[in-house]
């Protein structure tokens, strides 16, 4: 299993989808453990598994194929969202020291183009004499989303659970949403995304925002594929300092994985606020002010963002891969 862990979740999903397709194509047998491909030879390495009826069985490792834990969500389902939920995020600025593990995890899981980021950790300072602080910035998943208002083709949309997503199969690439978003959260696929062949051939899903498509817009999606499984978005689980808290406003609870809070209490006790409130966009992301900090601002400087390559270098990189 350790080997599997090193693989990315996407690859796991790809393999799973392929396997399920192969199983479905096998009309002679309903047994999912049946050897559907004669070319697979037993490796001799046995693994113990728990069967559905509680028996411990042994299988040759070569016959194991990962299966997706949930069936893929249809486009219309992905557009509706999860009923009875209102997702919300709280970002505690007193805990952030610019580790940018959130950014790395997010970029990795969504195959964000090198040089671009869906999460930015901004070095903020309101004015000359105020204290600087680190501010992770995701999509705000506004309740009055300016991007959705201006989209001419309903490619970006607001779901009933509060999440704003993009349908890259529909986006015409006019970039009006990018001009409209006051948080500059949206990025554009200026060229063919760098993807392995299997990834690129998958069907696009609004919930995973992958595979990304050339000439369309991308952005933070609150990882609805994870929330559907009851798991946390990648940035939340990747952060070593518990900066991000994710949850449901209707259940009134948010968690960073280790701690769980009552959302309303947390916002009241710590004077939570939202960004650019005066614009009336009504974000779903709340910030807790950088007071009683766990780390001084300076501790984040050692990890200051260095553009390790220009965007044009990334282009060369992509030609090497393909």
């Amino acid at each position: 299993m350790n080997e599997n862990n090193t693989k990315s979740r996407r690859e796991f999903l790809v393999a799973g989808l392929l396997a399920s397709a192969a199983v479905a194509g096998c009309s002679t047998s309903n047994n999912p453990f049946a050897q559907d491909d004669e070319t697979i030879k037993p490796s001799g390495q046995m693994v113990k598994l728990l069967s559905v009826d509680g028996q411990i069985i042994e299988m040759d490792k070569a016959f194991l194929k990962p299966v997706p834990d949930l069936p893929a969500v249809s486009n219309s389902e992905a557009r509706r969202g999860i009923p009875g939920k209102k997702f919300v995020m709280v970002i505690d600025l007193s805990r952030c020291k610019n580790v940018r593990a959130c950014q790395k995890a997010c970029n990795h899981m969504h195959h964000v183009h090198p040089g671009q980021n869906w999460i930015k950790v901004l070095s903020m300072e309101e004015s000359a004499h105020t204290a600087p602080y680190w501010q992770p910035t995701t999509c705000m998943h506004c309740d009055e989303p300016p991007c959705v208002k201006v989209c001419p083709v309903d490619a970006t949309f607001k779901r009933q659970d509060g999440i704003v997503l993009i349908d890259s199969d529909r986006c015409i690439g006019c970039r009006f949403c990018m001009a409209a978003c006051p948080y500059s959260t949206r990025v554009f696929n200026w060229e063919e995304p760098i993807l392995s062949k299997e990834e690129a051939e998958q069907a696009y899903s609004c919930e995973t925002s992958t595979p990304q498509k050339k000439g369309t817009v991308g952005k933070c999606d609150f990882c609805p594929d994870m929330t559907r499984k009851g798991e946390l978005p990648h940035c939340v689980s990747a952060c070593p300092n518990g900066v991000f808290m994710f949850g449901d406003m209707i259940q009134d609870s948010v968690t960073n994985g280790a701690e769980t809070f009552r959302f309303s209490d947390l916002i009241k006790d710590k004077s939570g606020y939202r960004l650019l409130e005066d614009l009336g966009t009504k974000p779903s992301v709340y910030y807790l002010p950088p007071v009683n900090r766990n780390f001084p601002y300076e501790s984040g400087l050692e990890n200051k963002y260095q553009p390790d390559h220009t965007y044009e270098d990334a282009k060369k990189l992509s030609t090497k891969i393909n």
Partner: protein, 439 residues
């Protein structure tokens, strides 16, 4: 006023028949074709590699394609001014200018539509605008009003041509077989009966009334593509009027340039007279003053307050890196034309021609100034991006495509003039007859 020269209808017809390209015409057309084809090549590269060939990036996500689009929409507005507003207000001297302004309007609006498709990341999904169109989006409003404007303009170009087809068909020898066939296809049903004239006149009147609100819509909606966002520099209630006034000025500048070129090249001194330059000069002064007023209105109040979100942009425009272009657009596009054209000597053909070019060039850079600098002043700081994302200067592909689109628009006008009489023959004869009778 000049002495009116006696012209009989044969003379007028001979003068105004479309002429074959001369040597200069061939050179001009070839150069335009080369520029346009180069633009097509640049667009091929963009289709192949994506918008990465441009220098637009995540912050400056709209560049000179969009400012060029605004420029084209602006230029096309002049059609409605000279054809419709002048007709409804009974401005007699407009006759030789109507077709010039209308073909400028049609070709500009066509290339406005094309350049917006060039700007799209997924041009092949254009039909999504109709399949999945959301009427709440200002882009849909633009699609609707621009296509409406295009069709009305086309009809306003076509209906007044009908009596001219009848005249053109008589000159088969001179115009050649192929053109004769074209004229016959487009206008052989026109017999010139009273009833036909009645219908035609009535249709033109209706179209002239219709086109005015549509013209205001195309440029107001175009301004709303910016003003419906929160961005400093775009978030302005002044934007609709600001854009419209600038558009009339830019288009009039273009008409003045075209008047001069056609007059010189086709020896139309008897038809496009100094009086026309004199009158157009007055109009350009008035439009430049109005546009200058809206500019003051647009910048003075935010600069007076210097809100935090606006300050960076205003400083960059007034004294920063965009200051040369900003003041160039104001000086060359408005102030110098006003100072030259208030004098009678300034309204002679040659100075008018130079001022016309200045107005058009100033107008192009003005649109650049409206689109790009704003995007470099987002609300949240520009961080965590490659350095190339934090500035913008168009790539050669962008310049080539923009130049190609301008050349394309000029080509459309050039071929139009080759095929059709640029000054309405029939209307000129009628007017001459009226003049003779009144003597």
């Amino acid at each position: 006023m000049e002495k009116s020269i006696y012209l009989n209808s044969e003379q007028i017809t001979q003068d105004l028949l479309p002429q074959k390209f001369g040597k200069r015409g061939m050179v001009w057309t070839t150069i335009l074709l080369i520029i346009a084809l180069f633009g097509v090549y640049a667009y091929y590269r963009q289709l192949r590699y994506g918008l990465i060939v441009t220098n637009m990036r995540d912050y400056v996500s709209w560049g000179i394609y969009i400012s060029n689009f605004v420029f084209f929409v602006a230029i096309s507005l002049v059609g409605s001014l000279i054809t419709a507003i002048f007709r409804l207000t009974n401005v007699k001297w407009r006759t030789p200018l109507t077709r010039i302004s209308e073909i400028i309007a049609v070709s500009a609006i066509v290339f406005a539509a094309l350049i917006i498709i060039v700007d799209m990341g997924r041009p092949e999904r254009f039909m999504n605008l109709f399949i999945h169109g959301r009427i709440q989006s200002p882009i849909l409003w633009d699609v609707i009003v621009i296509s409406t404007y295009f069709f009305i303009s086309l009809l306003l170009l076509y209906f007044p041509l009908l009596p001219d087809f009848k005249i053109l068909l008589k000159f088969k020898e001179k115009t050649g077989k192929r053109l004769n066939k074209l004229y016959r296809f487009q206008g052989s049903f026109w017999k010139g009966t009273k009833a036909q004239f009645h219908i035609s006149e009535k249709s033109i009147s209706i179209l002239c009334i219709l086109i005015i609100p549509v013209a205001f819509c195309i440029h107001t909606v175009t301004s709303w593509l910016f003003a419906t966002t929160y961005r400093p520099g775009w978030d302005s209630t002044n934007f609709g009027a600001y854009f419209i006034s600038g558009a009339f000025l830019a288009g009039s500048g273009a008409v003045v340039v075209a008047m001069y070129v056609f007059r010189r090249y086709y020896h139309l001194e008897k038809y496009i007279t100094e009086m026309h330059f004199e009158k157009m000069g007055r109009i350009v002064v008035m439009l430049a003053l109005v546009y200058l007023y809206f500019n003051v209105n647009e910048f003075l109040t935010p600069a007076f307050k210097m809100k935090e979100s606006e300050e960076g942009l205003i400083r960059q425009l007034f004294i920063g890196s965009y200051a040369p272009m900003f003041w160039f657009a104001i000086l060359v596009g408005m102030i110098i034309p006003i100072f030259v054209l208030v004098f009678k000597k300034g309204r002679k053909p040659l100075p008018m021609f130079i001022i016309g070019i200045m107005v058009v060039v100033g107008a192009w850079f003005k649109r650049y100034i409206i689109v790009t600098p704003t995007l470099l002043h987002p609300f949240l700081p520009m961080q965590n991006v490659p350095t190339s994302f934090m500035s913008y200067f168009p790539s050669w592909e962008e310049w080539a495509i923009d130049a190609g689109s301008l050349a394309g628009a000029l080509l459309v006008i050039t071929f139009f003039v080759r095929i059709y009489p640029i000054i309405p023959i029939h209307e000129t004869i009628i007017e001459q007859n009226e003049k003779d009778e009144s003597k």
